[in-house]
């Protein structure tokens, strides 16, 4: 039986698609009782994504981020009766996570000013593109474009041509993690003092925080950072190299002279250690092209896994450039993922695609329940938790108060 650090906490969640749902899954895995409220006004379009049409869709609905909730309910928040139900629920909550646009929060009466009188000690976290204050607070935006505004996308591209590429869409997952950190601090403070508070999370701020170095480059050098490609200020070699196979690549990074000697040994090229072109980091950086060509020649003749293993045996940092398929099938990832405890009898370990990456040896949490269809728990929740007779719940569903 998993031990849950957040047992006894009740979380109310109104969130869509990714950042908020991921955050609340993390809280749910760790034992918080999560009430996920969905609404026809702002239905989680993760459920309707056309990218996964067909037989896949049901599967995806159930397996994407919203897992480990105790209650999957639906309320028409735009309806006064529905809104009153929300207020009744939030009165009992310790935490409220709200991941919808600030204007919609206002319209649906979900702001801290609305919620605080109902539950003065609530920890409320809002997640929005630009935050709740400031001249551009009403900017609309979604995760994948956050790196554009944050400045991060301007750093991704090929130095040879100067072309920018889109960077990876990590803003949502990054926010899910940073948001959890903030919410957990709010909980920690509340446990000590009984005080709740408003936590205002802005996507732009969290993501700009990952490129502090580039911000300093600009200020210190008085010019814009040049595209680095895969090169690095203090490491050479540092890059990805084609290896034997279709679209097969490995990444190699060398920071110390000891690692450089290890690489030469792995290559069975002892004469390279003191080669006047490569002897020191400065030289390796200066002669990067010749160095990369040499590594490329070695790498191309080898299977990626063999090359990585050999380099690692010689103390050199190397890893295969994996596709999502490779990563899923990789024995290390499978090993780490299998650490999770699963309490939901409808799923087994070999069916899951990810575990709990915050590995706490004493209170590890568990996957408590798989994601459920929209409004799955309406009948049970409203009758047993709020004491509304079943017939009346049915009737509210018919009248689309619960929708």
């Amino acid at each position: 039986m998993g031990d849950f650090p957040l047992a006894g906490l009740r979380v109310v969640e109104i969130s869509q698609v990714w950042a908020g749902p991921q955050l609340c899954s993390s809280l749910g895995d760790m034992g918080a009782e999560v009430i996920r409220i969905e609404s026809v006004f702002g239905t989680d379009f993760g459920r309707f994504s056309k990218a996964h049409r067909g037989p896949l869709r049901q599967f995806l609905e159930l397996h994407r981020h919203p897992r480990s909730r105790d209650h999957y309910i639906s309320i028409n928040l735009g309806n006064p009766e529905g809104n009153a139900l929300f207020r009744e629920i939030v009165r009992t909550a310790d935490v409220f996570v709200c991941n919808i646009a600030p204007r919609a929060m206002e319209k649906l009466k979900l702001t801290y000013a609305h919620v605080r009188p109902l539950r003065p000690d609530i920890v409320m976290a809002t997640i929005s593109a630009a935050g709740l204050t400031g001249p551009r607070k009403d900017l609309v935006g979604y995760g994948p474009s956050v790196n554009a505004v944050a400045g991060s996308d301007s750093l991704v591209g090929y130095p040879e041509t100067g072309e920018l590429m889109t960077s990876f869409w990590d803003p949502d997952p990054v926010m899910g993690v940073a948001g959890a950190y903030a919410v957990l601090m709010g909980i920690y403070h509340r446990q000590a003092t009984g005080e709740g508070q408003l936590i205002d999370l802005s996507f732009f701020e969290v993501l700009t925080g990952l490129i502090g170095e580039a911000m300093l480059e600009y200020q210190m050098w008085g010019k814009l950072p040049a595209l680095r490609g895969n090169t690095h200020p203090v490491m050479a070699p540092h890059g990805v190299y084609g290896s034997d196979g279709e679209d097969a690549w490995i990444s190699i990074a060398v920071r110390t002279d000891e690692e450089w000697r290890g690489m030469c040994k792995a290559f069975q090229r002892p004469e390279l250690v003191d080669d006047p072109r490569f002897r020191t980091f400065e030289l390796r950086r200066k002669n990067r092209k010749a160095l990369d060509a040499l590594i490329q020649e070695w790498s191309r003749q080898r299977q990626p896994d063999d090359a990585v293993k050999l380099l690692q045996e010689h103390g050199v940092a190397a890893a295969r450039v994996m596709s999502v398929g490779d990563a899923y099938l990789d024995p290390h990832d499978a090993y780490r993922r299998a650490n999770i405890e699963i309490l939901d009898p409808t799923i087994t370990k070999d069916q899951i695609t990810y575990g709990i990456p915050w590995r706490l040896n004493r209170t590890p949490g568990a996957l408590r329940r798989m994601g459920q269809p929209y409004g799955q728990d309406n009948l049970r929740f409203f009758s047993t938790m709020l004491g509304i007779p079943e017939a009346r719940v049915q009737e509210m569903m018919q009248r689309e108060v619960l929708k």
């Binding site: 996964h52 900017l139 400045g151 889109t166 601090m185 911000m215």
Partner: protein, 403 residues
């Protein structure tokens, strides 16, 4: 002044080098934890990384170091030597959290595995942040950020299909690890409230990225065998979902539901081509001839600046954004108005702006950033004060090069 910071009273010992552990500890420091950063007498390698502001730059001026190590105290200690290790062991009972980024084999050599130090302080939260984590087949593999993004199926998806893949910029993989360490550490502190016991928290950057970034695409792969590859300036194949050049840079046309696209076509003046059968289905456009459609809208985009496009789109509810250069993000009035930027001074007293904390918390605001420690700046305070070492003992240790 009474502190309202949420982590006031929590003492964090930071061991290791470079980014991941340092970023994790700084996130804790931002909210009031007292962080003691242990560096070798030669200094953390981030001190030699740069960017440096001028020719007279010293290890006290390195931009990356300044950013990662605000809100900390710093001591020097050679923990590879028995006397240094002994001092670490006397520090551990006085700390609540230990954050490090050593490989398991390195920890073992240092006698600092969790099992080795648990008895010294049963309340200690021991947080490991490495690329591959503390167990599993690759646990002892060396890894830098480029290897983390390679092994987590991230690099594979950035860049052009016909060219080499690109790592996420600016050592993002290491930041990912450090970021995940923060909520995981908070969970352990929350669990400690119940029974006073600490635990081992084990973070792998690769596992965290696999978990939070790849869920959806892993499922698509398992169901259909499809592997997402590099899409250059596009994020996905639903048109447009891309960054495209405009008059003064790039504009991100990313995330578009049908109504966003319709409004954009209207904004362009509903050109004749947009009514042709060929340009109605955004799936076909995206999968079959995206470049052709790019060519049709590029001349229109080229007439406007990023700021003009941003205004035109946002006022119509189209959630698109400019690709801001770092100087634009730095000067952006919105972030300034929110008080996002913090100032830190380098060793020569020059002030620099750095990205601020991840969340605004109403009742327990993060602290105003303090300048990062100079090498060994707090030796006297920590060794002489906290550990009560005598002057002569400190002199001996200093002479021996231990501190």
């Amino acid at each position: 002044m009474p502190s309202t910071q949420v982590l006031h009273g929590i003492r964090v010992l930071e061991l290791g080098d470079f980014i991941s552990a340092a970023y994790c500890a700084r996130l804790l420091g931002d909210y009031g934890a007292e962080v003691i950063k242990v560096e070798p007498p030669s200094g953390d390698s981030a001190r030699r990384h740069g960017p440096f502001p001028a020719k007279d730059a010293s290890p006290e001026d390195s931009g990356l170091f300044l950013y990662l190590n605000a809100n900390k105290k710093g001591v020097t200690l050679d923990i590879t030597r028995p006397q240094g290790r002994k001092l670490v062991r006397t520090l551990i009972p006085k700390c609540d959290v230990l954050v490090h980024n050593y490989l398991p084999r390195e920890l073992e050599r240092l006698g600092l595995r969790y099992e080795d130090v648990k008895a010294l302080n049963p309340r200690l939260v021991f947080t490991s942040v490495t690329v591959f984590g503390q167990d599993g087949p690759y646990a002892n593999y060396k890894g830098y950020a480029i290897n983390a993004t390679a092994a987590s199926a991230t690099t594979h998806r950035i860049g052009k299909a016909e060219s080499y893949p690109l790592a996420m910029p600016y050592d993002r993989g290491d930041f990912w690890g450090g970021l995940n360490g923060a909520p995981a550490t908070m969970l352990a502190l929350i669990a400690r409230r119940r029974d006073g016991k600490g635990q081992h928290v084990d973070i792998s950057a690769v596992e965290a990225m696999n978990t939070f970034n790849n869920g959806m695409e892993t499922i698509v792969y398992l169901e259909s065998g499809a592997i997402p590859s590099r899409r250059g300036h596009r994020v996905q194949n639903l048109y447009p979902y891309a960054i495209l050049p405009c008059k003064d840079g790039y504009f991100a046309l990313i995330i578009a539901n049908q109504h966003h696209w319709d409004r954009f076509v209207e904004l362009m003046g509903s050109p004749a081509w947009s009514k042709e059968e060929r340009y109605l289905d955004r799936y076909k456009m995206g999968y079959e001839y995206p470049d052709e459609v790019d060519a049709l809208i590029k001349p229109w985009l080229a007439k406007y600046t990023k700021a003009e496009l941003w205004e035109m789109c946002q006022s119509r509810g189209i959630p698109w954004h400019p690709v801001q250069r770092v100087d634009e993000t730095l000067r952006w009035d919105h972030l300034k108005a929110r008080g996002y930027w913090q100032q830190v001074k380098d060793g020569h007293g020059r002030p620099w702006s750095v990205p601020g904390p991840v969340a605004q918390m109403g009742r327990t605001p993060p602290q105003r950033f303090t300048d990062p420690p100079r090498l060994g700046q707090h030796n006297q305070e920590i060794f002489g004060g906290l550990l009560r070492l005598s002057k002569s003992r400190m002199a001996t240790l200093k002479k021996a090069g231990v501190i």
